[in-house]
Amino acid sequence: MSKEITVHLKIWRQKNRQDSGRFEEYTLNGVSQDQSFLEMLDQLNVKLVRDGKEPVAFDSDCREGICGSCSCMINGQAHGPEKETTTCQLHMRSFNDNDTIVIEPWRARAFPVIKDLVVDRSSFDKVIASGGFVSVNTGNAPDASAVLVSKENADKAMDAAACIGCGACVASCPNASAMLFVSAKISHLALLPQGQVEAQKRANSMVKTMDEMGFGNCTNHAECEASCPKGIDLSNIARMNREYFKAKIASEE
């Protein structure tokens, strides 16, 4: 049976981009351990609104761990303590009575804070727009079974394509690097015959945009892999480097 607990929250409050921000503390009673983490924040917000205070702004939409809207550093960990779990899928079972929970936004140069726990991740969209696609127009496609794909490659492509674009990898990397995100897309498409044609060009332009957006370099900390709620693995980065160097060599020839 579920238990009700009390939690002490230390939450980052920042009015807007310009504000310098600060932690504020709240104590919340009567939190059911069956509640999700975001339902706990909902409960806090209902209370704040009732008391005439400003509720805490945070992003969420699907609350099923798939849309990538939710974020937050929870006690210093992206998406909190559970492995391969987004903040919206985290439950209060993972906390004990009277725990103190520190909640902060993603922090990265390429993800400026908009308000409280909400950050701007549009740099990810810009990276995709620069090459994260197959150049096929509607109507161009041959029959779906005309090109065979080995089950192994289809499965690997699926694993890479499972990325939800939440930004945990960037937030947990000491360099705020986006290598895991970018490499997952490059791998997803490079593993399929449909994406092979443009593979090198894609790697080239996505890496270029990634750098322009202010993401840092990868120095093999592997924090990204550890924090990824979808278990995207580091081998994608190796695959991306291969495509990238192939592209470099090709362009020098």
Binding site: Q35, Q43, R63, A154, H188
Partner: protein
């Protein structure tokens, strides 16, 4: 002004209608396409596929979504799969069978010609998605594989693990982002449409709030496409995303777009049951689970034993018992209602008694744990994360939850609403699923609308109509903007004591109890008066902290709840006037002796289309008569 409900179904045999229509349609030559601009509201499967395809053709597109990125649209959450008529399994599928199943599954309340077209283009969707790099599941030989879904006896569902919606959406999103990179689409994320601007009888623009700065913007175009999704969140608890709303569609309704069959909602049979009052939304467990899971309750009323302690002979596998032909794969409305009946007779399970079991023990014994894990592993994990119970060890507990809305803005064969120039795609329109949608058919419809229908019918609209030049200084823009600002001011000025969420919860309760799985005259009348009362309280006692000039989640919610408080009443009215049962709409007064939905084709073989008549005025109910020339009207039977 009378309401024009001409469906514009092309002449000729059903198999040739779409081909002929495309040929007869006006064309816009490539150079001229560059002169036209289109607003697309929504970046789900319908909106993203439309925006990408139109931009590829040369149109200038402006796209909007309320999330921080178009990739996060609610379509991303679809799990199970997408139907298509490929017949790769050689099990007798065809365009005709998919058409037939969809009309029958919808309980004969959809327009045949539209459904046929949907079935016809379904195969192209799979081709397109594969070409984009959607990693559909494959066999060892490299060929695509399929699974079966409710309401069909063939295996026609394509899937990408339990993340089909995500993969299809990412495919469409990437195509869209390619056009963003090429400058053909301007993307406006974190924007909410607060009004539709109609000039000289044609849809010409939108009024939008920038959700970060609070700026109110005007956007003008030559046509407007709404692909803003469904309105299931009127029930507060549903499987929809937190932000899913009816706002854009509701504003269109108020500007003259007919709203069709608002009471047709789908209650999905396999969701994780509610655990307490803190809950903000419900989580779906894909219907594909019914391929291998067996649904049961204890035979004995009030049996509180652990499910694993209840012997085989004391279990009632009621779907297999009542519907031997379809068993656990009966359509959703039937499965949901049967679960409710079991709970009503006090055979429900779990702590709350409001659930039934979905059991994988036999499948695990038959196929092995690994095979089952490969198929459903991520769903099982999700279930365990939420409930703290493992479906490998004991049956899942499931219960129906609001999931999808078949009703929506009325559209003709060209997907145009009753407002010229306003086209409506995806779940936001009412078109193809009648009174009940079959599993894996929403993704199919959204992508059919966006990739393969609107690129033709929008060209036809431009070719046929003279589109006058207007800009955002037109008085209609000013008027709309003034109204939007006044409403915002009102929300912020009430200064009452309750948050928007509290009103939303209260509305949800009224809707679920009276306009939910089972409806009757008395309950529906009560719902109408209760909603009116709640609406009054809302406008007197709402509290929205903060200002307009900032990111303000509470202000966003207030606007959405205000719309739901009006829509809920229209749904109850629609349900009240439809004195028959069909698909997801079950009127207790109209049932067979075996408690199956009993249609009244004599009186109700039509779509009800509601016309807005002004604030606090009764809306008017119009009808579009439906003709069934190819799928003969019969009482549905899945026995």
């Amino acid at each position: 002004m009378s309401f024009d409900l001409d469906s514009k179904i092309p002449e000729g045999p059903i198999q040739e209608k779409w081909t002929k229509h495309k040929f007869d349609s006006k064309l816009v030559n490539p150079a001229n396409k560059r002169k036209y601009s289109v607003i697309v509201v929504g970046t789900g499967l319908a909106g993203a596929s439309a925006a990408a395809s139109l931009a590829e053709l040369g149109y200038n597109v402006k796209s909007f979504c309320y999330q921080d990125s178009p990739r996060r649209a609610h379509s991303i959450a679809a799990q199970g799969g997408i139907n298509a008529n490929k017949n790769y399994q050689n099990d007798g599928d065809s365009t005709w069978r998919l058409f037939y199943d969809t009309v029958k599954g919808g309980d004969y309340r959809a327009r045949e010609a539209n459904v046929y077209r949907l079935a016809e283009v379904s195969g192209n969707i799979i081709d397109q998605c594969v070409a984009q790099g959607v990693p559909f599941a494959r066999e060892y030989g490299g060929y695509l594989t399929n699974r079966s879904f409710g309401g069909a006896q063939v295996s026609r569902t394509f899937y990408a693990k339990g993340q089909t919606g995500q993969q299809l959406l990412i495919g469409a999103y990437q195509s869209m982002m390619r056009q963003v990179g090429l400058g053909k689409i301007q993307m406006y994320a974190r924007r909410e449409i607060l009004d539709i601007v109609v000039i000289d009888g044609k849809a010409r623009g939108v009024i939008v709030r920038d959700l970060v700065t609070g700026d109110i913007e005007r956007h003008v175009a030559d046509a407007v496409i709404l692909a803003s999704g469904g309105y299931g969140n009127v029930y507060f608890l549903s499987t929809n995303a937190m932000g899913s709303n009816v706002g854009a569609a509701w504003k269109a309704y108020k500007k003259g777009a007919g709203f069709a069959n608002p009471c047709f909602t789908q209650i999905h049979p396999t969701c994780i049951p509610q655990s307490g009052d803190h809950q903000a939304k419900l989580t779906l467990m894909s219907e594909s689970l019914r391929n291998d899971g067996r649904v049961w309750v204890p035979k004995e009323k009030g049996d509180k034993r652990h499910p694993n302690d209840i012997p085989e002979e004391e279990r009632d596998y009621y779907l297999e018992r009542i519907y031997p032909a379809f068993g656990n794969l009966v359509p959703r409305d039937v499965a949901s209602r049967q679960a409710k009946f079991r709970v009503d007779e006090n055979k429900g399970v779990g702590n709350t008694g409001v659930a039934v079991y979905l059991d994988f023990a036999e499948a695990i014994k038959r196929d092995g744990r690994d095979t089952i894990a490969a198929k459903y592993g991520n769903l099982f994990e999700m279930y365990q994360r939420i409930t703290d119970e493992s479906p490998y060890e004991q049956p899942m507990r499931i219960y129906p939850a609001v999931h999808y809305t078949m009703g929506g803005l009325w559209v003709d064969y060209n997907l145009q609403s009753t407002i010229p120039g306003l086209h409506v795609l995806g779940e936001a329109n009412f078109s193809d699923h009648g009174a009940n949608r079959l599993g894996a058919s929403a993704l199919m419809q959204g992508l059919a609308d966006g990739y393969f229908v609107i690129p033709y019918t929008l060209g036809h609209y431009f070719g046929k109509n003279e589109i006058k030049k207007v800009d955002t200084t037109h008085p209609e823009f000013q008027k709309s903007e003034d109204e939007v600002r006044a409403r915002t001011k009102k929300f912020l000025g009430i200064n009452g004591s309750r948050s928007a969420d509290e009103f939303h919860r209260a509305l949800g309760k009224i809707m679920w109890e009276n306009v939910g799985m089972s409806r009757n005259e008395q309950g529906l009348k009560k719902a109408i008066s209760d909603i009116q009362q709640l609406r009054k309280e809302f406008w007197e006692d709402l509290r929205v902290p903060g200002t307009n000039e900032e990111l303000n989640n509470e202000l966003e919610k207030a606007g959405r709840v205000a719309d739901f408080l009006e829509l809920g009443e229209l749904m109850a009215r629609d349900a009240l006037t439809r004195e028959e049962s069909c698909g997801g709409h079950f009127r207790e007064e109209s049932q067979t002796p075996e408690n199956e939905a009993l249609r009244d084709d004599e009186k109700f073989a039509h779509s009800a289309v509601w016309e807005f008549k002004g604030e606090n005025q009764e809306p008017v109910r119009h009808r579009e008569e439906l003709k069934f020339e190819h799928v003969p009207l019969t009482q549905r039977s899945y026995k």
